[in-house]
């Protein structure tokens, strides 16, 4: 088909073929949907039969809570899956000794990097879309709007893009896939866990300082601590569910919920990590091939040592 020839470049075409021809892809898809399905069914079982009230009812409130549970479970699964799918895309080619041949073709560095990222993201998107029937259970009970659900899925796409870009960058920078995967998971852990813990730690210090002030003193209502939570995907996700959550994240004393938070957490998340995504992709594109830096003196080059898969020396 003409449209596919126009839009699908050779690297992307090859990546799609290779990815979908291995049984691993089908197995990962099945395992992912099964895990999320088990979580959904498990939650329904717990709510219906093990609930404190013992009313054995699954109402819209419970449906809403289930949506939250599923959304967080999905976020955690994405955090595990994205590095595994992207942190070996370049280093894997290097280990298979196919990278040097790919780099001597006419495909530009940006085409190679973006195609690799796009193919990985496409597969992740396929997995996330495959979980939609599980979410349909929520709609049976109500409590969630379609708009909210679309926002959540767009947020997932952004998180996948973030972790995917970091994975591709580390895959370009490190020769070995194992190291690249470990570093990507490490950075993912910092984003998911460390930012949350840091928020709680700093918040406790700030609040202790404010509450130790004399009651007559008028301290600020909002603190910078909310910005830390804005770096956390879970914080940003909750702010999408509950718009008032952002106010709570910044609020330290003298609650005034009528005033606005400096920024919605999800907005901060998008702004900050967009820069990270662009930076990661830029580094990947620059580093995949050796690029000569022009010196002031014409005709001479500074030659950075870039590993390309060619054996060295001799």
């Amino acid at each position: 088909m003409n449209w596919s020839r126009k839009w699908i470049n050779p690297v992307l075409d090859k990546e799609f073929r290779l990815r979908m021809r291995t049984p691993r892809s089908a197995i990962s898809l099945l395992a992912y949907v099964l895990v999320l399905g088990m979580i959904a069914l498990g939650y329904i079982y717990v709510s219906l039969y093990l609930g404190r009230q013992g009313n054995h009812a699954f109402n819209s409130g419970a449906g809403r809570m289930m949506f939250y549970v599923l959304s967080f479970a999905q976020l955690v699964l994405i955090a595990f899956m994205a590095p595994a799918l992207t942190a070996g895309v370049i280093s894997g080619e290097r280990e298979k000794q196919t990278l040097s041949m790919l780099l001597t073709t006419q495909q530009s560095s940006s085409t190679i990097i973006l195609s690799k990222l796009f193919s990985s993201l496409s597969f992740m998107t396929l997995i996330v879309v495959a979980t939609m029937p599980i979410y349909s259970i929520v709609f049976l009970y109500g409590g969630i709007s379609l708009k909210q659900m679309i926002y959540i899925f767009l947020f997932y796409l952004f998180v996948m893009l973030l972790l995917g870009s970091l994975g591709v960058m580390f895959s370009t920078l490190f020769k070995r896939t194992m190291i690249s995967v470990i570093v990507t998971y490490g950075v993912g852990l910092c984003i998911f866990l460390m930012t949350g813990l840091l928020y709680l730690f700093v918040m406790s210090i700030v609040q202790r300082n404010y509450f130790s002030m004399p009651t007559t003193a008028t301290g600020p209502t909002y603190s910078f601590v909310g910005y830390i939570l804005g770096l956390n995907p879970a914080g940003a996700l909750i702010s999408l569910f509950e718009p008032g959550f952002s106010k709570g994240a910044f609020l330290v004393r003298n609650g005034n919920l009528n005033s606005d938070a400096p920024i919605q957490l999800w907005q901060e998340f998008l702004l900050v990590y967009s820069v990270v995504i662009i930076g990661s992709l830029w580094i990947s594109i620059r580093k995949i091939r050796p690029v000569a830096k022009r010196k002031l003196r014409k005709g001479t080059y500074d030659a950075p040592s870039v590993e390309t898969g060619a054996s060295d020396p001799s």
Binding site: P290, S311, D312, S314
Partner: protein, 309 residues
């Protein structure tokens, strides 16, 4: 076609290439000879735009590899010493992928790929997954990949390594065909006799330095490589080898199941005298002739051996 001037490459304190100068005219088959770690693959990787030199200039068809890498890539077909293949692709899909990566339109590729498979004797494997090919077949497929965009220059790093004798002969025949097609080929190999048959010029590199360069015969003449005499006797071969060790013009003697190989520094007259002496010792001589010195002898004569710096 290939022009290298004062090319150097350093990895920290280690100098992989030291001031290499090389000129390879169009249509030449250039054999790159040297021990492991000498700098052959580094030079080839620089020519293939995969590595930057620390200093110096390398040009392919007039284009500087550091300033115009895209133009260089259009003109070269690069086959690395170790390479992998995409096992989940079929042979034709593999070539289509690389063809498309060189921006060759599909209609053109449809005509080109059967011709390339014919050239490398893989026509009957067109619908086979690359995973199912033997090492020799993969090597030939990789060569077909190098040719898909009809490059002027082929950079082949150890194309025959790891192949069995039959596969090596097949590879050599393909390279001869490519030579007839007028391609400029720069080829490295550990198996020197293979190169000797087809190269126009050789460059001998050791410890990152080009120690000799030119036509094999010219280098042989310049170095005055000692002649090797091959002697076969009816019996007492080991005794003959031992007695020849003590002769004045003999520098080395090697005895194997084909006879006695004598590294001889004398001229024609001394050669006649040596034969007379062997007969006078009572040996029944079956044959006594001067063996053709080959690339291996040249290589051993030039290179000093020993570890790199």
């Amino acid at each position: 076609m290939i022009d290298i001037q004062h090319l150097s490459k350093r990895y920290g304190n280690f100098a992989a290439l030291k001031d290499i100068n090389l000129h390879i005219p169009e249509g030449t088959v250039f054999g790159f000879v040297g021990p492991n770690g000498a700098g052959k693959s580094t030079t080839m990787a620089i020519l293939a735009t995969l590595m930057l030199p620390t200093s110096g200039v390398a040009r392919v068809d007039g284009f500087d590899v550091t300033r115009h890498p895209k133009e260089v890539r259009k003109r070269i077909g690069y086959m690395p010493d170790f390479f992998g293949v995409y096992d989940q692709l079929k042979t034709t899909e593999y070539l289509h992928f690389y063809g498309a990566s060189y921006n060759i339109p599909r209609t053109e590729r449809e005509k080109l790929i059967p011709q390339l498979l014919e050239l490398v004797n893989l026509s009957d494997k067109r619908d086979v997954y690359v995973d199912g090919l033997s090492r020799g077949m993969k090597q030939r497929l990789c060569l077909a990949r190098c040719l898909i965009h009809d490059p002027k220059v082929l950079i082949l790093d150890e194309p025959a390594s790891g192949l069995d004798p039959r596969a090596r002969i097949e590879m050599r025949e393909i390279l001869k065909e490519l030579k007839q097609m007028g391609k400029t080929i720069i080829i490295s190999s550990h198996i020197l006799p293979e190169l000797a048959e087809m190269v126009d010029e050789i460059g001998v590199i050791e410890h990152g330095e080009m120690v000799a360069q030119g036509r094999v015969a010219d280098i042989q003449a310049r170095l005055r490589v000692k002649k090797v005499l091959h002697v076969r006797v009816m019996e007492r071969q080991e005794e003959l080898a031992a007695r020849l060790q003590d002769e004045a013009m003999v520098s080395a003697v090697l005895s194997d199941n084909t006879g006695v190989h004598v590294h001889f520094g004398g001229g024609d007259l001394e050669q006649v005298q040596l034969l007379q002496k062997i007969i006078s010792w009572g040996f029944a001589v079956i044959s006594f002739h001067e063996a053709q010195t080959n690339l291996e002898d040249v290589f051993l004569e030039i290179t000093k051996g020993g570890p790199a710096e």
